[in-house]
């Protein structure tokens, strides 16, 4: 069978969702931000909630998320996305409200906003992209940077004695009674992309039922910041990030999984 006979509208099995705009993404080649954006938009499309969803974009590489995600969006100042989302959701409780934040945004400058929104049990969804580094500003160390990991501000590797320990924000937030669904996923392989998408769906479903704050951490690569080629950065992530940030559900339906 000729390839031209296969490439016909009736044989279509996968295409970029129209909830992603046609603007070329501003991300580096191979960066997980793009994949995370797309599965988030696919979930919103499948739930049929495009016109009822409001997203809050962060500061970080995904600062332009509102250019790529075809839903109503607001840009928050650095780290303040959960506070902005709180305001939107309280004014408009019937809307679906999410934030999309990097680890510098969520776990450094926005630690207070994140913890208190979770502790208040704000009925919002947080998509947390943890690449263990400040990608946008040139690869500085983040609170999430692994022990011994080299960054532009820890060129000899993160020294725990002088630079402190990496912060597992997701486990920490799962301890708070205000969070309902807390999970850690990744988007580097087809299987993981499909799992992460299911997790985002579960997070939005839990928001629909007013169950409290839902958080999906996506452990992701920053090949530019890590100074690796894209495929190599994904392999490095599997070998180094996943042992420290293990994938899987941490809290489901308000209950901690596996004695976390």
């Amino acid at each position: 069978m000729d390839i031209k006979d296969i490439i016909k509208p009736e044989n279509l099995v996968y295409q970029k969702t129209s909830l992603m705009t046609d603007k070329p993404l501003s991300y580096c080649p191979g960066c997980g931000h793009g994949t995370a954006h797309r599965i988030l938009m696919e979930v919103i499309e499948e739930m049929g909630i495009q016109s009822e969803t409001i997203g809050v974009a962060p500061v970080g590489c995904s600062v332009l998320a509102y250019d790529f995600m075809n839903v109503d969006m607001v840009g928050a100042s650095h780290g303040r996305a959960p506070a902005v989302a709180t305001g939107i959701k309280r004014c408009w409780p019937e809307k679906f409200v999410y934030t999309y934040q990097g680890d510098g945004d969520l776990a450094a400058i926005g630690t207070a906003e994140t913890i208190h929104a979770a502790n208040r049990g704000e009925n919002i969804t947080i998509i947390f992209i943890n690449n263990g580094i400040y990608g946008m500003t040139g690869g500085q160390m983040a609170p999430t940077t692994l022990p011994g990991m080299k960054t532009s501000t820890s060129p000899y590797g993160r020294d725990l004695k002088s630079m402190g320990n990496p912060l597992k924000m997701t486990e920490l937030l799962a301890q708070l009674p205000g969070t309902c669904y807390v999970t850690r996923q990744s988007v580097h392989s087809p299987r993981n992309v499909r799992r992460a998408k299911k997790a985002i769906r579960a997070a939005f479903e839990s928001q629909k039922e007013n169950k409290g704050l839902s958080l999906v951490e996506i452990v992701s690569n920053c090949n530019s910041g890590w100074k690796m080629e894209p495929v190599a950065s994904n392999e490095w992530m599997v070998d180094n990030m996943f042992p420290f940030y293990p994938l899987g559900d941490i809290k489901v339906d308000g209950k901690l999984v596996n004695n976390q």
């Binding site: 069978m1 390839i3 006979d5 296969i6 490439i7 016909k8 044989n11 279509l12 099995v13 996968y14 295409q15 970029k16 969702t17 992603m20 070329p24 993404l25 991300y27 580096c28 080649p29 191979g30 960066c31 997980g32 931000h33 793009g34 994949t35 797309r38 988007v187 580097h188 392989s189 087809p190 992309v193 499909r194 080629e229 894209p230 495929v231 994904n234």
Partner: protein, 76 residues
Amino acid sequence: MAKMKGAIVVDLEKCKGCEVCRVACPNDVIAMTNEVNHKGYHYAYQEHQDACVGCANCAVVCPDGVITVYKVKLSD
């Protein structure tokens, strides 16, 4: 048994040549071109046309969402 035959279309001007799709393909269908697009990237293309089964693995991992997948069922 019915066999699946697939085909992919890569938006070559938007492809960033990251090769994430290439390693995700279970059938080694994808290779990178020697020539570059306007951005200067070696883009992905379907090298082994007959091997594609239309599983969409390449498309779901493409960070830039530039792969479209088609599939037909062949009955023998």
